[in-house]
Symmetry: D2
Subunit: 326 residues, 4 copies
């Protein structure tokens, strides 16, 4: 490939009640860059870009798009050529058509996920050292997308061979087929992960925290505000990725991961970590089981051309809820 995808950039989620959503994400410690009656733009404390989470008021909850930042507009042109050659129909959104964003390219990826690429977003003041504004879980920045797709191995090969991602860790399922994989462009554990399941769906958006105590503090603050039922899983340690994690469900059921503790994956000769079925380390490191909802539920995604929900396909691998927990 001759284009350069930099990192996970932002998610655009449809929500049904902006006030409820604002209260929830505000409690988590997001900074509201701006909003109107139909939209809220949130960013993390260290982010110098206008937003990493755009909530749009709609009649039904769904994922409009997950977006990656690329190096330059030239990369967008190259991506258009690439997708067109592949037979995928792309959609251009001109600068100005989306708040704070330059020109962008949207496409349904091979798994059916609505994916967008952009090079430019308006910058704003970082709040990194405005510790007086830190609250809740003190969300620092967007980190990754986790997607449930029917054929993980196909997605894995495509993102690595065609889009230039590298694999940090993966889980082998039946007949050594890849059941789940963590892929990155920035040198962290992942910008995107794929896991086997009915899809395409967005399982969660991961946000980075600066330290483990922010996650504990986040639990306390959420609980004191009545959000204990929104805590779905954790806090715990992932064996895979080594993340100290917490999974939350927002008022529309979109899943948010608070995340701290991965490692540097900059080296071209880094060997992906394989997790074997019989390795007890593969389970949640501390031995807790995830609730069924964590395996069964995910956010449905929209068609970038029609705006309608994409039909789910059954997964290639049979095991939907492994004995191990990702």
């Amino acid at each position: 490939m001759n284009f350069d995808i930099i990192r996970t950039g932002r998610a655009v989620l449809h929500v049904t009640d902006l006030d409820k959503s604002r209260a929830f994400y505000d409690a988590l410690g997001f900074i509201e860059t701006e909003s109107d009656e139909e939209n809220i733009f949130f960013r993390g404390l260290e982010e110098h870009n206008h937003h990493s989470l755009w909530l749009k008021k709609k009649p039904e909850a769904a994922v409009e798009i997950i977006s990656y930042k690329v190096r330059s507009e030239e990369d967008l042109e190259k991506l258009e050529s690439f997708f067109t050659k592949q037979g995928s129909e792309v959609k251009w959104l001109e600068k100005g058509s989306q708040k704070a964003l330059g020109k962008s390219l949207r496409v349904q990826d091979l798994s059916g996920l609505p994916v967008e690429f952009y090079a430019e977003m308006e910058t704003v003041d970082r709040m990194l050292q405005r510790y007086d504004l830190y609250k809740g879980a003190k969300v620092q920045r967007i980190d990754h997308f986790n997607c449930m797709v029917p054929d993980v191995e196909k997605a894995y090969n495509y993102y690595i061979d065609e889009l230039g991602f590298a694999c940090s860790e993966y889980t082998a399922g039946e007949e050594e087929k890849i059941w789940a994989a963590w892929l990155h462009r920035k040198p962290s554990v992942h910008d995107v992960a794929f896991m086997n399941g009915p899809g395409p769906r967005l399982h969660h958006v991961g946000f980075w925290l600066n330290d483990p105590m922010s996650l504990i503090n986040g639990c306390d603050v959420l609980a004191s505000m009545g959000y204990a039922p929104n805590i779905e899983r954790g806090p715990g340690r992932h064996g895979l990725s080594n993340a100290f994690f917490l999974y939350l469900r927002d008022p529309d059921g979109h899943r948010i991961e608070l995340y701290n503790g991965d490692y540097l994956t900059s080296d071209p000769d880094f060997k992906p970590v394989r997790w074997d079925l019989d390795d007890p380390m593969r389970q949640t490191f501390w031995g807790h089981e995830a609730p069924d909802s964590w395996f069964d539920e995910a956010s449905e995604v929209l068609d970038v051309h029609t705006g309608k929900k994409i039909d789910l396909k059954e997964p290639t691998l049979k095991k939907r809820k492994p004995t191990f927990v990702i």
Copy 2:
């Protein structure tokens, strides 16, 4: 009462395999004061007393005794008079008959729990500032006993009216009867708690940690050493007591709580916190459910005179596993 019980002092537990037990408690960060082929004496990092946990090798796991430190030997005499008047048969153990301990008084309390009082224990060097020896969860000191008894209200009245404990928090069950209660002599949340259930049994021994990160570190260390299956519940925040907690099962199934985060209860006019059935704060603060094992399983206790296991009685209140979690 005219005697002065100072605090929770030590537990004497029967275990079936000293090597397995040593490996587990050592991983948690306990300091081994001394040991022989039949006994291990452990203490926490700040403890200046010889031990707070005495493990005895026996064919069957059980609780031999839970011990409280009193102000002076004179208090032991007064306690003897008190128990004798109550019609309870006491048992004296002379100085020298137990390692490192002065004269002690043992008795089966009104719930059938084997309880001991002592004034004197040999002192040893504190390891408080030997940070180079800190490891695992960095256990600082013994904090409390939690006991499952058939009639909590009776135990509650007895410990408060007769033994001079004060109540910090309690849970009201059917017909405003006390379902569980947290009682203290030292000005923390508790030295002993009672909860409704088949008993008398020892539910857990609580040990104090200095900060929340020690608990998280403890989880990681335990898991890396293969003890993930020993993590029964947590980490989480108790609504009741505000503790940041972790429950572990030792190799014989004895339950240990790692505990951080209570508050000062020194004031005579401190009003016990009542937890109402419909108060959502009463549940585990972050909303997790405890596993059934946490409600069903506890360590059986021995008769101080015969050394045989005490028969269990059914609890007075019907609810054994409330919708709330203690």
Copy 3:
């Protein structure tokens, strides 16, 4: 003695600008119970009493009183008898004459410190589990007073022999005379400490934090709000007391210590820790030197009868700024 002093209760400080003081203490995370144009009443997050810090607007900064809570009003009568016998003139303040406080007894102690005893203070809601209100350094509760006095050994003997305090740790100076001492009623390291220097003066009021990260967070928040110049010393670890500490100067120069990490001192047979001149552990544990201001500056105190400043006396021991740091 036949009276029972429970613990350090509150400080009443004179400040010159209530707005500046409010901004500072609010940034630290204190809860403002109430205020008017002349007064602000602050408490920590876990405190169920009306206040532990009372700021009064006055033309000049000073310490009006440091107050201890006693068990009952009866104890106040006994303290009156005691002080009167000693030849000290006491002053009664009737219930209602001080906001939220019951009857109180004031006296100049043998070092000249203005000391008050009270049994009753109005209770208010604890904010312990209102984590949504936690901010800054998340101050939990008042912990201790540290006083600079001309004759530490005299104060030491008096507080132990006459008032029933116990010593946790002390520093021996010239000719084995006590240069500084940490004394407690509640079973922590101290309710009051005395150090050698021109006095009587209040060196600082110590407030308890729940964990070390709250202290780090507090530094960041203070700095982001422009209070970096108010950070006088730390963060660091005291060898003596093992406290993880931070010293701040409020807008009038009153010194506040944020404090985490002491240990349980409940046992009657706890042997006070002696710090020897040549023991390197006696210094700040991590090896930092305290600034001169920390040794030289302290808050002047008022006469309980005249309301005028008490004259300073030169200390008995020559060393005012030891090579070690307390």
Copy 4:
């Protein structure tokens, strides 16, 4: 440029007493990969490469080389061409001539720093999830070099324009000249920083910690082992870079920074943060002054061809110890 430098790779330091050095770095939590009578190879807990710190026993302390990892051997050839064109004499070390390392290219950079590039290093097991081996400050990985050079602006231009580094933050000195600059290849705050001073010298090697409590724990462990005198500065927060830092001096005086808390710098349009002379945030965020030694002392470096020490040059900018602290 057509070569791809990945990241800071390792430092090779000459030390005079291997046993003393081993004890120090072991206390910090480094993993010793292997050693013999002349060498110790250390790595951090998450590092999958053989070492990031190579200590060689020599009569005199010095910096032999600071090394960067490049993408492939091809990049080494391109770097050779580049340096040769620039008139710099390079030195090849063939695979096998250095323990665990593939072919490498050494050169004196324009400031006189001994710099090395390599593509290949033997891999070893990561200890990331061997939490039972974590100790001291739990050092995770090498992060950056900080170098004192006589002409920062020249170095800055060269590393950015010729070697492909990007600037995250910088400090402007006299006449808007760059007094110090933080440059990165991996998307963190820096792989290398340059500051104005007599040079070329290595000011410190920075190692990454996973969380702030590891730094606090590290202070306690070091102090308990007698290393308090080795703590030169901190803990504190840098305004510049936002790092939570601790500076240590090893037994030969080499300076080590323990470091946590920077931010993601992946974006091509990230605007370097400029620190102005009159901005109080530029100072150490919490307001502490650095000791003189921190500005005056640094490790001398060797000539890659002769092995002799490089003569120091006086800095271009006059201010050696600014009122601000980096």
